[in-house]
Every structure is written in structure tokens, then in C-alpha cells.
Amino acid sequence: MKLDKNTKAKIDRFFDQITPDELLKLAVEEYGFEIEAGLSASGDFHRVLRVVPVGSAPTLISSDGISPISFAC
């Protein structure tokens, strides 16, 4: 089995006939695809996290020094 004109046409027919929302529903509900967790509110996951020294309280600190999330330990 290879990606020849005939095979490509069959795959294209499937994707041309289904809407994005229908495909998402099918993928998640029928086939078990998982939706990836969203990005942080700032949209930049890496900007929010940085390494903190060993022994310091666990916290999330943004690169501008302001913690977007705080919690008691």
C-alpha cells in the first residue's frame, strides 16, 4: 500500500467531506485522542516557569518577577 493518486484521493475525500468540529468530535469521542492542555494565560509556557534554587518554596515565578500563581505550602 502506498500513497498513489488513488489512495490520496480516498484520503482527501474523507477530509473534504468532514468539518473541523466533526473531525474533532470523532477523534476524541470515537478514537480516544486526547486534547493537549492549553498554554498559560500569557501564551508562553516557558516565560512563566524558571528554575528556583534547591530549598526555596515551590512557586511559579514569571520572568518579570511576578508570581502569577501562589499557593500555601
Binding site: 500500500m1 500513497l3 480516498k10 475525500r13 477530509f15 470523532l26 480516544g32 485522542f33 493537549e36
Partner: protein
């Protein structure tokens, strides 16, 4: 011509299936039962080890049966005797997705690309898995696939105990989606005790 009746060159492959003594007896009396496969592998089908990454797929099937005997929740063995079954598999090359060669990978990548384009329009991102994509190609993608083959890294007993997790494929496996049609003859290759 009806696609299901189209005949091309037949691929003849020998596969090895490791399982418990009880399951093997049932298979020999009736037939293989399809089960939900690992999402990371080749989707829902009957799995076999075959030649490719290893010259001794029957040993890998035995190792798989041994590793699968251990129930990590109950911390004990589910079974203590295993069998390795040898099966002659025949599949029309028109219905054989071989992911160990470039043309098979090209087909899967094309499907995955079209899938990603469409899903991105919803603003969501999905976690991809080969097995889930193959299930979708088979059932909704208008392609009739009876057997798929791929190279994977599979953890057996030693790899699980010592948490050895490499990325280099160590096995070539087959998933047979229509065992009644493709599994032509099955016999016992090996019997063993789980230790």
C-alpha cells in the same frame, strides 16, 4: 471492481504470538480475538512479532508472554504457563500498510498532515498516536487495511524491571485487523513456564 476483491501480489509473513496457556488453547480451538491495541503502536488488532529488527521474533513473543504474566496491581502472576504460537499470515499488498518502508510512512504522514490541518481550524491541539491514526484511517479514511507492520521499542521483563527506555526500535510487529481472513495456519512453536 470491488476494492475488497482486488487481488495483487500476496505478502506471506510468519508471525509469533506469545500468550497464556489458556488463551492459546482458546485460539487453537477457535480463532484469534481482536483486542484494543496500544494507542502508540498499530491500533486495534491481533499482534505478532515478526522478523525485521530481530532475527528471533519467537523469542520476543516468549519474552512478551513472560512480561505480560505479571500483574503489577496484584503484584503476582496472572498465569504461570505460556505458549508461543506461530501463524502464517497472508495479505494482499494492496491492503498491507508497511511502516518499515518509506512508502508506508509517506501514506501515514499524509493522513496525519491532513488531519492536523483540519483539527488546527478548531483551535485545539491533539496528542498524536500512531495507533489512533491507523484506527481512523481504517474505519473512516476510506482505505482498506488488513495488516500493518512497524518497528517499535517494546519493553520486556528486564526493560521493565530496570526501567530501560530507549528510543531505538528493538522489534518488528504486525497488527492483523482481519484475522479470519489473513491468519491461514497456526501451530504451537514453544511452551514455557513463567519465571
Amino acid at each position: 471492481m470491488v476494492e475488497g476483491l482486488k487481488t495483487g501480489k500476496m505478502e506471506r509473513i510468519v508471525g509469533f504470538h506469545g500468550t497464556s496457556e489458556a488463551a492459546a488453547s482458546e485460539i487453537l480451538k477457535t480463532s484469534f480475538r481482536k483486542s484494543a491495541g496500544d494507542a502508540e503502536w498499530l491500533g486495534d488488532g491481533v499482534y505478532f512479532f515478526t522478523e525485521g529488527r530481530s532475527d528471533s521474533p519467537y523469542n520476543q513473543a516468549a519474552e512478551w508472554a513472560i512480561a505480560s504474566a505479571y500483574d503489577k496491581h496484584a503484584r503476582g502472576l496472572r498465569y504461570d504457563k505460556y505458549y508461543v504460537l506461530e501463524t502464517r499470515i497472508e495479505v494482499d499488498e494492496e491492503h498491507f500498510l508497511d511502516l518499515t518502508v518509506a512508502e508506508g510512512i509517506e501514506l501515514l504522514n499524509y493522513f496525519a498532515g491532513r488531519f492536523r490541518e483540519k483539527i488546527s481550524q478548531t483551535g485545539k491541539r491533539l496528542r498524536y498516536a500512531d495507533g489512533l491514526l491507523i484506527n481512523m484511517i481504517r474505519k473512516h479514511g476510506n482505505l482498506s487495511i488488513d495488516v500493518a507492520k512497524g518497528n517499535f521499542y517494546i519493553k520486556f521483563k528486564k526493560e521493565r524491571i530496570f526501567k530501560i527506555n530507549l528510543r531505538t526500535a528493538n522489534c518488528t510487529i504486525l497488527s492483523v485487523y482481519d484475522p479470519e481472513k489473513c491468519c491461514k495456519f497456526t501451530s504451537v512453536k514453544k511452551r514455557g513456564i513463567v519465571v
